[in-house]
């Protein structure tokens, strides 16, 4: 009993903890409600994001023309905070790989981190097995270049320019290597799409890629591609966004009137 009381005491000792816990509970609650609704098929229209639409089209075109698509998953590492961005690269790869597998076609995935590599290997192997071509799963469709971002850029740019690829999709944790890959592949006849969460990376990537997803839009990859259950989290984000804005406005008014410190 005593440890529990200690724990509660230490929890209550910091105002940041309490605020954070309250925000987290609200977030969880909204998340569960909205995800449940999304799964039950509740309508939630979302604005169009051109890059994701292009991914749909590119996949179709790749199946037609037989040219593989390259998905660069960047240098995020699972097991750290960068997991969220890395996971979005993995989700896009999952989408591309499943379609490629169902039509028994090639795909190329690159990453600068071993943990993402091992997750992607599982994704690709599952996709190939379920499509009935387990024997086609070969290790060289997923490549590791790294772990340094620029090493990744040099290796990836080399790999995608050596063979004819239809498109170059860069989603995940990227830094300046996004510019490196984008510009190095500029001479090739390749559609280049991508996105990252870090503002410094997108500022450069949107200058070099044909289309770009920005910041929070990266985390919507699943919802816009094939994970419809992710729509619930988009609704949660929207609600939390409105609440955050209201909180800012209310606190600013109070601060201006002299009620806050």
């Amino acid at each position: 009993m005593q440890p529990l009381i200690d724990a509660i005491e230490s929890l209550l000792s910091s105002s940041l903890n309490i605020t954070a816990l309250a925000v987290l509970s609200l977030f969880c609650l909204l998340f569960v409600v909205f995800t449940g609704r999304a799964k039950r098929g509740r309508r939630f229209p979302v604005r169009a994001i051109p890059a994701y639409k292009s991914i749909h089209q590119l996949v179709s075109r790749s199946l037609e023309s037989g040219q593989p698509i390259h998905v660069g998953m960047g240098s995020g590492r699972v097991g750290t905070e960068a997991m969220s961005e890395a996971l979005m690269g993995l989700t896009v790869f999952d989408y591309v790989a499943r379609h490629a597998a169902a039509y028994d076609q090639a795909v190329l995935g690159t990453t600068a981190d071993g943990t993402i590599l091992s997750a992607a290997q599982g994704v690709l192997q599952r996709a190939r097995e379920e499509a009935g071509f387990a024997e086609r799963y070969a290790g060289n469709e997923l490549r590791f270049y790294g772990p340094d971002p620029l090493v990744y850029a040099a290796g990836t740019a080399g790999a995608i320019t050596r063979d004819q690829h239809l498109a170059n999709i860069l989603v995940g944790r990227f830094g300046h290597e996004g510019l490196w890959i984008g510009e190095a592949a500029q001479g090739q006849d390749m559609v280049q799409l991508g996105g990252a969460a870090a503002p410094g990376a997108i500022a450069l990537m949107q200058a070099t890629l044909d289309e770009c997803v920005i910041g929070e839009e990266v985390f919507a990859a699943g919802a816009y591609l094939h994970r419809r259950s992710h729509l619930g989290s988009l609704a949660t984000q929207d609600t939390m966004r409105i609440l955050a804005i209201l909180a800012i406005i209310a606190s600013v008014v109070m601060a201006s009137l002299g009620y806050l410190g």
Partner: protein
């Protein structure tokens, strides 16, 4: 058998909702072959692997139907109530459980072009009707309102007039069709067809069976910026950059005399100056060799200043290449100052993998994060420099050199938020603006962009080295960017003028 995209559970052919995870099955559906288990795209009726029927009975019907396609292709547009009934007939899911597909649909009225509405929301009019062969498109069916009194948005059901025939085909490229396909296999009774509709259907059939144009259709919709820069233009730009970088060789770097330290640089130099002898500073070299060219000169200037002030320095890195850089840097400093000895005045703990995860351990214990030091491979307690230093709180200042804003953010989020200390971030110019919010909110004590600050720091700390700072080159580079901006817009205006004159 239909396979759930989310959890890979295999559901019966008529399921609308996954039995395992409850997720909707309407999109991205594959059929598993009952004989060999292979996954097939939803519109397949044979397994692509063993040629077995995927949907018992339906295959024959469909093969026959495609021989006499036209009638069955084109039912007249059923009214809303017709559709609603069709939904019940075809799917008959339990009330309340029925997934409405438009949950997924995007309907940004302004951004969504006709093509988007077509691909995402509704079928492209008569052209798509052959899908009736294998069942009513679920999108269409379920676009019907669940409550009868809710008015139907016309745009959701009846597509706007197509301008380009090919545009409507977008949804028919195999995978898109897979996404919009129904899994209920009740063949609707073909209603009577008008002649125009029949003609449309024939036209569709001829287009759809032709492979080439489809590819072109796909090509049209994928945006691709034109290549603006020719090989020669690119080479010219690159040459300009190279010349800009070499300017100081020709000009003698005159502008470096004008260098004046900024306030942030002066305040850091003052902070370090005021540290008493024997106090300790933790330096994290969170940058790789790639950005060393920019950060190293500043790190060297700060390192020399710390050494001259007789402050104990403990170095570490969350970047695999950073340890080597720290080692190189301190070899240089130790070479300049004979009294500056490893283990007594400074130590390099090594590389801490997994930035966030590893950094959190610093709050509790340095010894836990680093079992042995990098250079002599002794446990930390054996090093004299580590006396009384067990966790990150024991240091007077923490300086982070970084080339990635996220590593500084990790320091703030994982370490500083847990245990309070003053944190100085000396970073590449590229990431400085991204960290400004943290400086504004007081989480960072100092924030300095490295690019050309080394010279400023040397001036501020009074330890000037006679080195070339290449300030002229920066001015030339600024000019190159300006020239680029002018050149691209002149080229743009010329192309536009040419296009206009062609148009006239």
């Amino acid at each position: 058998m239909i396979v759930c995209a989310a959890c890979n559970h295999r559901n019966p052919s008529d399921a609308l909702v996954c039995e395992a995870c409850g997720g909707s099955l309407e999109h991205f559906v594959y059929r598993a072959c009952p004989s060999c288990g292979a996954l097939n795209p939803a519109e397949n009726v044979f397994c692509h692997r063993c040629f077995d029927d995927l949907v018992p009975g339906s295959a024959e019907t469909i093969v026959e139907a495609s021989d006499i396609p036209v009638e069955s292709f084109v039912p007249s547009e059923p009214s809303v109530t017709d559709r609603e009934e069709a939904v019940r007939e075809a799917a008959a899911p339990p009330v309340g459980e029925r997934p409405t597909s438009d949950l997924i649909l995007e309907a940004d009225a302004e951004v969504a072009t006709t093509a988007e509405v077509v691909s995402e929301e509704t079928e492209p009019g008569p052209l798509a009707e052959p899908q009736q062969l294998v069942g009513e498109p679920i999108e269409r069916l379920e676009a019907a309102p669940s409550e009868p009194e809710a008015p139907m948005q016309p745009s959701e059901l009846i597509p706007e007039a197509e301008e380009d025939v090919l545009e409507g085909l977008e949804g028919l490229v195999p995978i898109a069709a897979a996404a919009t396909q129904a899994h209920a296999f009740a063949l609707p009774v073909p209603p009577s067809v008008s002649e125009t509709e029949q003609h449309d259907a024939e036209l569709f059939h001829s287009i759809a069976s032709e492979r080439g144009p489809l590819r072109d259709a796909a090509r049209v919709v994928i945006p691709r910026r034109a290549r603006l820069l020719s090989r020669r233009g690119r080479a010219l730009l690159y040459l300009l950059v190279l010349l800009a970088a070499l300017t100081p060789v020709f000009t003698g770097d005159r502008t470096s005399l004008l260098l004046r330290p900024r306030d942030s640089v002066t305040s850091l130099a003052r902070d370090i100056q005021s540290l008493p002898t024997g106090s300790a500073v933790l330096i994290s070299f969170d940058y790789g060799p790639a950005y060393a060219g920019e950060v190293d000169p500043l790190a060297l200037a700060v390192g020399r200043h710390l050494a001259a002030s007789q402050v104990r320095v403990v170095a570490m890195s969350t970047d695999p290449g950073g340890v080597g850089l720290a080692e190189h840097l301190y070899r240089t400093i130790a070479g300049e100052m004979p009294d500056y000895r490893y283990g007594e005045s400074y130590a390099i703990l090594g590389y801490l993998p997994g930035p966030e995860a590893g950094l959190r351990t610093l709050c509790t214990s340095l010894g836990k994060a680093f079992k042995v030091d990098y250079v002599q491979r002794r446990t930390l307690s054996e090093l004299p420099v580590m006396k009384d230093l067990t966790s990150v709180q024991d240091f007077d200042q923490v300086i982070v050199f970084a080339d990635d804003s996220r590593s500084v953010r990790s320091w703030i989020e994982q370490v500083q938020s847990q245990c309070n200390f003053s944190l100085h971030a000396l970073v590449t110019a590229a990431i400085e603006p991204m960290l400004l919010p943290y400086q504004q909110s007081g989480q960072l004590s100092t924030l300095i962009a490295a690019a050309h600050s080394a010279g400023e720091y040397e001036k501020a700390s009074g330890m000037e080295e006679p080195s070339l700072h290449w300030t002229d080159a920066y001015g030339a580079f600024c000019l190159v960017l300006l020239v680029t901006a002018i050149a691209t817009n002149v080229a743009y205006l010329r192309t536009r003028a040419r296009q206009r004159s062609h148009g006239q």
